[in-house]
């Protein structure tokens, strides 16, 4: 068995508790998911996928900006604009969770499993806070999906982003549950890396979205 990135002097058996500095956090691949994918490839594939996914948002953002600056009708009758205060708090919480998930990642690298779980849970809590806050905001809005091109764009953008947040939360919950099964969390290092990357992606998208919809209100 040849390990690609570890120095040859390191016997592969030590990867039961793997070298935290090596990119090879997934010895599962070395004794085989059967015919399955190799973890390094998984990361390549995942980055390619995220790059592609970001273009959906890019397209939606461009569409929003074009409509915002050119549509003869924008805000529905009786709507002044969007309330910024609550969403701003939401934004701060979501963006800070990027830092928290980074702490979780670091804890895993240092093989502090308990600490990892704590940061991981905190990230999930912050993400949940964001989703709930978003849902409350939706409930109190005076316009709907069918309220002209503004309403449609607003709900499509925030909804599509919210879907990504929920997906991120589900992935985190999945990894958390797996980490509770003894001896299995460390092999999931690649999974943690991927989910964390996804979470940063979701946060960056939100910042752009927030600027586009909440900050840029004047026509």
């Amino acid at each position: 068995m040849t390990s690609l990135s570890q120095p040859a002097v390191t016997p592969p058996s030590t990867s039961a508790l793997p070298d935290p500095n090596g990119p090879e956090l997934d010895p599962g691949a070395s004794h085989g998911h059967g015919h399955g994918a190799h973890a390094d490839h998984t990361m390549t594939g995942f980055v390619i996928f995220l790059a592609s996914e970001s273009l959906i948002f890019l397209a939606l953002f461009v569409g929003y900006a074009v409509y915002k600056s050119s549509a003869p009708l924008w805000l529905p009758a009786g709507v002044e604009g969007l309330e910024v205060r609550e969403p701003l708090i939401n934004t701060v919480v979501l963006v800070s969770s990027s830092l928290v998930i980074w702490l979780a990642e670091r804890a895993l690298h240092r093989q502090r499993l308990g600490e990892f779980r704590a940061w991981w849970l905190l990230t999930m809590a912050m993400g949940t806070y964001f989703v709930v806050g978003q849902a409350i905001e939706w409930q109190h809005l005076s316009f709907g999906l069918a309220s002209g091109v503004f309403g449609a764009s607003f709900y499509l953008l925030t909804g599509f982003h919210g879907l990504h947040v929920v997906t991120g939360l589900a992935l985190m919950a999945f990894l958390l549950v797996r980490s509770l099964r003894p001896g299995l969390v460390l092999p999931e290092g690649k999974g943690v890396l991927a989910v964390s990357l996804f979470w940063h992606f979701v946060d960056v998208i939100w910042v752009v979205l927030f600027v586009l919809t909440y900050v840029w209100q004047r026509r």
């Binding site: 994918a37 390094d40 490839h41 592609s52 959906i56 397209a59 924008w74 091109v149 449609a152």
Partner: protein
């Protein structure tokens, strides 16, 4: 890519694993299962895609039957609209994309010496979405009101009119089907790109890679960049159709033009997603049948990426007469015409590859030669269409229909046929019948020319596309086109007969019947489930070394012997 100890491009640990499903070679049942073997998936793709080629062809023949006389007398005009919409959708999303994904699956791993795709399960999932969205699209024939009749562009507001008001309607199923096809394509694109980038044989740097892999990579990059934009547009269209939004409805401040931008941002490059792998196939086949190295390999390889980049900045040429301002027309006219340069490089390289070769006119070569001839013709009409004043006259007429059928059938599908014949022995282990192949070629060439050449003339005279009836002055061109279409229908008979009879009782194929150079030809026919398994050859020279007397890989004789003995 080579490293001191082992190549990072190939991970030996995924080799020689017990396979989850494939079973023994002769087990046909595996073709109906969730099999993760790329070669099984490749054949699954091609088989189902050919089935849909027949469906799409049948729809086309009904359409040509309608158009053989000026009035709309064979089918109701609304039925005609549904037929042409489904014809286009089936041919693009259920025939061409899948058949090319089939070739990607069959060819990429053996060509680069990989055991399989990077993500075999994702690969199988991507394939099994294909029958799902195929069935969804076919099911739209059965819903009240019939299938979508708004054309494969599905331009709003027409596509969001939903005349019967049902929640489940042909247009909805159309959007769902196309969206699922997009999901499947993205899965495939992630897989193909990762495989090509990470799993090449030791010694196979990018510039030792066969051109087919270059073009596949270039094409899949377009998928990754274009499809998300189409997805955004399709999502908005779905909301407009089913949830009362007004993204593209003027009543709520929306603009139908935005959809056209989203649609063409993907759908023009989509043509290159289909054309690029065919360029790859031409580049593979000409050296084999002319017994010469590919002329200017590096330039041909790089030209693929020039096409990828340019294809993403030309989409507005579909909107020259949609109220696009003059400066924008000029910009997109120039970018569109620039595409002639990298494609020209490829064409000239193929012709130079023929020059002073030792040419064998077997069926695949005939299809390639005719495909390139047709492509030169289509390229010229393409440049005509890129120039704004000519496009303003012939845009949205039969001239365009003729042009893109020259691309999509007379070039791309010819390339598909060439590839099927060329690699048939490799992946089935049987030789095809040359005389039936030649008959198929002759009928196809005459039929397609008769079908699509007169369309240009009808368009120049001003016959709009998508009409169910037309003025009598267009009758001659349409009769010719219809006769050509029926001849194309006849041409499928020797093709299918050849496939079936060769599969059943064709002579056994040797590992390398064409005396071709390439990793896939160092494998037995058909190759074993994991290609080279853990004994991957080290590539020491570039592809297409015909007449140069250099070996492709270290220990070439050993691999040749091993393939023969298998």
């Amino acid at each position: 890519m080579a490293s001191s100890t082992s190549s990072p491009s190939l991970d030996p640990r995924v080799l020689k694993e017990p396979l989850p499903m494939p079973g023994p070679q002769g087990n046909w049942r595996r073709y109906f299962t969730f099999n993760t073997d790329a070669k099984v998936i490749g054949i699954q793709y091609i088989a189902v895609a050919l089935l849909f080629l027949l469906v799409g062809g049948l729809l086309a023949m009904i359409m040509r039957g309608e158009l053989i006389t000026p009035p709309a007398d064979l089918v109701d005009p609304t039925v005609y609209n549904g037929l042409y919409t489904m014809h286009g959708t089936v041919m693009l999303f259920l025939f061409l994309f899948p058949v090319l994904n089939g070739f990607n699956n069959l060819l990429i791993p053996p060509m680069i010496g990989a055991p399989d795709m990077a993500f075999p399960r994702l690969n199988a999932l991507a394939f099994w979405l294909f029958p799902v969205f195929g069935v969804i699209l076919m099911a739209s024939f059965l819903v009240p009101g019939g299938p979508s009749g708004s054309g494969w562009w599905a331009y709003p507001p027409l596509s969001t009119q939903n005349p019967l008001g049902h929640a489940i309607n042909g247009q909805l199923l159309w959007i769902l089907s196309v969206a699922l096809s997009g999901v499947s394509s993205i899965m495939g694109a992630v897989n193909f790109c990762t495989t090509i980038l990470r799993m090449r044989a030791p010694g196979m740097g990018l510039f030792k890679m066969p051109i087919f892999c270059w073009t596949a990579l270039a094409a899949q990059l377009i998928q990754l960049m274009g499809l998300p934009v189409l997805t955004a547009g399709a999502a908005m269209l779905l909301f407009d159709l089913s949830f009362g939004t007004s993204f593209f409805k003027p009543e709520g401040g929306g603009d139908p033009m935005l959809y056209q931008h989203f649609f063409w941002f993907y759908s023009h490059p989509a043509v290159y997603v289909m054309a690029l792998p065919i360029f790859g196939i031409f580049s593979e086949l000409f050296p084999v049948y002319a017994r010469k190295p590919l002329f200017g390999y590096k330039v041909v390889a790089i030209a693929s990426f020039a096409i990828t980049v340019l294809s993403l900045i030309v989409w507005v040429h579909h909107m020259f007469y949609s109220g696009t301002p003059q400066w924008m027309r000029n910009v997109f006219m120039v970018t569109t015409m620039l595409i002639a340069v990298p494609t020209g490089i490829k064409v000239f390289a193929w012709i130079a590859t023929l020059w002073r070769g030792s040419i064998r006119l077997s069926t695949p070569m005939l299809f390639c030669l005719a495909g390139v001839f047709n492509f030169i013709f289509a390229g010229i009409t393409g440049v005509m269409l890129a120039t704004v004043p000519v496009d303003i006259h012939v845009g949205n007429t039969y001239f365009v229909v003729g042009h893109f059928h020259y691309i999509i059938f007379n070039m791309i599908t010819f390339g598909v046929f060439a590839a099927i014949y060329h690699w048939f022995p490799k992946f089935t282990g049987r030789m095809y019948y040359e005389s039936l192949g030649k008959l198929h070629f002759i009928l196809t060439f005459i039929g397609s020319t008769l079908n699509f050449l007169p369309m240009h003339w009808a368009g120049l005279m001003g016959m709009p596309r998508r009409v169910a009836s037309y003025d009598p002055e267009f009758a001659t061109a349409n009769v010719l086109a219809s006769l050509g279409a029926f001849l194309l229908g006849v041409a499928t008979i020797p093709f299918l007969l050849n496939l079936v009879s060769s599969l059943v009782r064709g002579p056994k194929a040797p590992p390398n019947p064409w005396n071709a150079i390439g990793l896939e030809w160092l494998l037995p026919s058909p190759p074993p489930a994991e290609n080279f398994e853990d004994d991957v050859p080290t590539v020491i020279s570039g592809p297409y070394g015909y007449g140069l007397g250099r070996p492709l890989v270290e220990d070439q004789e050993r691999f040749e012997r091993r393939a023969l003995e298998a």
